[in-house]
């Protein structure tokens, strides 16, 4: 192979050394990852810092309970359960609840019928 004998190229020994090092790096880092030794793992300190940020925002809020959110109460009073605050009302059920897995085609059919009636 000409690449190995040209003066400007690599000799056989250098080529094998380079290829060997490359292979070893890939295999070793991969094995470390496989066995849970985190060669590429980042520091996870940022997760705790972001969590602390969330908790200090909570502490800074004047209202800290969901059932005291004035606009949520207004949404029930005016729209979801007119005249009262009643979670799970019929309208709340239609807009705010869903179904899962094999129940979804029937839900879609219900929603389309509802949309026709509303139109």
């Amino acid at each position: 192979m000409s690449v190995l004998i040209e003066k400007s190229g690599l000799n056989r020994r250098q080529f094998l050394k380079g290829a060997g090092l490359l292979t070893a790096t890939v295999v070793i880092s991969g094995l470390l990852a496989k066995f849970g030794i985190k060669a590429f793992a980042r520091s996870t300190a940022y997760i705790g810092q972001r969590a602390a940020g969330v908790y200090s925002l909570d502490e800074a809020m004047t209202i800290r309970r969901s059932h005291q959110n004035p606009e949520v109460l207004q949404l029930y009073q005016e729209f979801l359960s007119p005249g009262e605050v009643k979670p799970l009302s019929e309208r709340a059920h239609h807009l705010l609840h869903t179904r899962y897995g094999s129940d979804i085609p029937a839900l879609i059919a219900d929603l389309k019928i509802h949309a026709l009636h509303a139109a």
Binding site: G53, L57, A60, R64, R65
Partner: protein
């Protein structure tokens, strides 16, 4: 405008160095490829969480960008573009502008959204409070009136929902039927808010800013049309919002603090903590305790449900006025989908001691979601 629900949200590009780190990270075993070979994602098992993306040492994994769609909507004068931003965004967005993790940029975030010319700037936290009222009432109904099986699982995390649907169809009756805050917001925006604002919901575009890539999948689910339209049209990640702000030449750090718009923009501290593991549980406990006992909590913090351990449990004694006795409510929190199987198997075997179980796909909760700023600090 809608993305087909089978669209691939997360993809591995040709920049893949085949290091195999992503397949160790993936919570569902959806990534295949051996060491030294370009890896691929099996869309059927992928829950779109983006943990592979934020952990890839070579940044070779990308999520489906929706920036063009948002820019087109903002540029179209016929469109009325409403935006919501999730709790976890405001403690991480600053990192894209050189601030440390956890820095509070809530005020600048709302100001930036206003500079970007969204027609109304609202808050997903409003819908998180709404979620607590619906999901908390559902839980009380299950516990006190046996309406539905126990334990009840949370339903806010779209990666968890897809995983449960794929792997555990028998578990589905245990999952709260309450939609996630993102989807509740969309359904309320295109009905109640559209009426109040006198806007044609057909012309309204609901955009979400989310710490999450799975929310892109969730908004395109075919049943998310309760308003008569696709409830949430476009999801941008925290990273995409940062790109949008930078492209628009906005001096983010120089912005004054602003608040969300009124109507469906108010929030509480209970909604803010949705962004961290255990937060939905704590918010639900604050409300359940006060509603069931008729008493005001002296301290709203439930520290027993906090922490970053993947599986945590706690017992909270609630004096239930209607029963005239204390009821011990047993709760469990799972953060990291890799840890959920034993908890689920106990439930299916009928030996789970819990009433309420919170599951979030990402370790630490939404603050560490697949749409958040990528950190490479070691």
């Amino acid at each position: 405008m809608p993305v087909a629900s089978n669209a691939k949200i997360i993809e591995i590009s040709a920049e893949c160095k085949a290091c195999d780190h992503c397949s160790a990270i993936c919570p569902t075993g959806a990534i295949s490829g051996v060491l030294g070979q370009q890896h691929t994602i099996d869309a059927a098992h992928c829950v779109n969480c983006g943990q592979c993306l934020i952990n890839c040492p070579f940044q070779a994994i990308h999520d489906l960008s929706r920036l063009d769609a948002v820019q087109a909507a903002l540029a179209d004068p016929r469109r009325y573009v409403v935006v919501q931003a999730a709790p976890a965004v405001r403690v991480a967005l600053g990192e894209e502008f050189g601030l440390p993790p956890g820095a509070n940029v809530k005020g600048q975030m709302f100001a930036a959204l206003r500079s970007l010319k969204f027609d109304q700037i609202y808050d997903t936290e409003f819908a998180a409070d709404l979620t607590i009222l619906e999901e908390g009432t559902e839980l009380i109904e299950r516990i006190l009136h046996s309406r539905g099986p126990l334990p009840q699982f949370t339903s806010c995390c779209p990666a968890w929902i897809k995983y449960a649907e794929d792997r555990y169809p028998r578990l589905l009756p245990h999952i709260s039927t309450a939609k996630s805050p993102q989807q509740m917001f969309g359904a309320v925006a295109k009905t109640y808010a559209a009426q109040k604002l006198q806007v044609d919901p057909a012309q309204m575009v609901v955009v979400s800013i989310m710490p999450c890539t799975a929310k892109k999948y969730e908004c395109a689910r075919p049943e998310m049309i309760a308003s008569g339209y696709q409830d949430v049209d476009i999801v941008l990640t925290t990273r995409e919002l940062a790109t949008l702000i930078k492209q628009s030449g906005i001096d983010f750090l120089g912005l004054p603090d602003q608040a969300a718009d009124k109507l469906i923009g108010s929030s509480t501290g209970a909604a803010t903590i949705f962004g961290v593991t255990g937060g939905v549980m704590e918010a639900a406990l604050r409300t359940a305790y006060e509603v069931l006992s008729g008493e005001q909590l002296e301290k709203v913090e439930f520290r027993s449900v906090r922490g970053l351990a993947p599986v945590r449990e706690a017992i909270v004694e609630i004096p239930v006025k209607a029963l005239g006795k204390k009821v011990p409510v047993k709760v469990c929190i799972v953060t990291g989908l890799k840890y959920v199987d034993p908890v689920v198997l106990d439930v299916l075997a009928g030996r789970s001691p819990y009433h309420f179980i919170e599951v979030m796909n990402c370790p630490g909760g939404c603050i560490n979601g697949g749409g958040q700023p990528i950190r490479r600090d070691f």
